[in-house]
Amino acid sequence: MMNLESIPIQAFLIISSSLFCIGIWGLLNSRNAVRVLMSIELMLNAVNINLMAFSSYVDNNLIQGQVFTIFVITVAAAEAAVGLAILLSLYRNRVTVDMESFNLLKW
């Protein structure tokens, strides 16, 4: 085994990249609207891991990345609340959560 002093930053970056791509795949391929919201949360978490890794390895004295992560968590909470409220009112009008039937804004 390699003689390491700490976990390399690349390991965190690869985890975050994989999580982001899984999130994009879920966003593009889900038919259930709740699963689309979950995929968005996965992508936000991937971005947070990235910010935290850079904050710890590149900027370990000022840790501005951690402050950014706090703000991202705040915005994600607001996004989840509004997204689920939109989903509920859509469900009330259309009685489905199938993404393919939400074509109100289509020409």
Partner: protein
């Protein structure tokens, strides 16, 4: 971080495999309820990764906000809209799936290539403030990030009011046209859905 490097590597391996396998389960599993609970596991493991990065405050915030609020909200949404429905077949779903999978794999390989080839300008581990990060975050929030901090509170208020307005049911005590008191049972009855026939 005062833990031995071997312990750190073991923790990192376990947490990252839980993150990746859990995320795959979230997007691939048939049952949406399993997906929601796996999402909670993914959030907890991400909090563990934050602990490995010396960020105890952000890890606690992650557990409180994501597991405690967002995940519970998602489970509530599943309970409110959980109806077995047969999805209508959509044309060209197979080619769409192939195209999106190849796009995701291409993006993943690109990102991993950048991660591995880029030489990062790492700072000296001796400068690390380590466990005092909570104090430093507090200093940031009340000095150079004060304006975003206050704007975030306004954003949360707007999101709360917006969510209430969007999700409420219009409950009236009197019928508008007749003036008679409304039979409260009617509120829970299924109304004629708008626009369902227009596909």
């Amino acid at each position: 971080m005062s833990i031995a490097i071997t312990t750190q590597i073991i923790c990192f391996t376990v947490l990252s495999s839980v993150v990746i396998i859990g995320a795959l389960g979230v997007v691939l599993l048939e049952s949406i309820v399993y997906s929601a609970f796996l999402l909670g596991g993914v959030f907890m493991s991400v909090a563990g990764l934050y602990l490995l990065l010396n960020a105890s405050f952000v890890a606690a915030a992650q557990v409180l906000v994501y597991v405690g609020a967002v995940n519970v909200l998602i489970i509530f949404a599943i309970m409110l809209v959980n109806k077995k429905e047969d999805l209508k077949p959509v044309n060209a779903i197979k080619s769409r799936r192939i195209i999106s999978t190849s796009i995701c794999l291409t993006l993943l390989s690109l990102l991993i290539r950048v991660d591995l080839t880029q030489v990062w300008n790492l700072s000296n581990p001796q400068d690390s403030i380590g466990e005092e990060s909570t104090i430093r975050i507090g200093e940031h929030l009340f000095s150079d990030y004060l304006l975003p901090f206050e704007v975030a509170s306004v954003l949360l208020l707007m999101a709360m009011i917006g969510a209430i307005v969007l999700a409420r049911r219009d409950v009236m005590s009197k019928d508008i046209s007749t003036g008679l008191p409304v039979d409260q049972e009617l509120i829970e009855k299924t109304s004629e859905p708008l626009l369902t026939n227009k596909n």
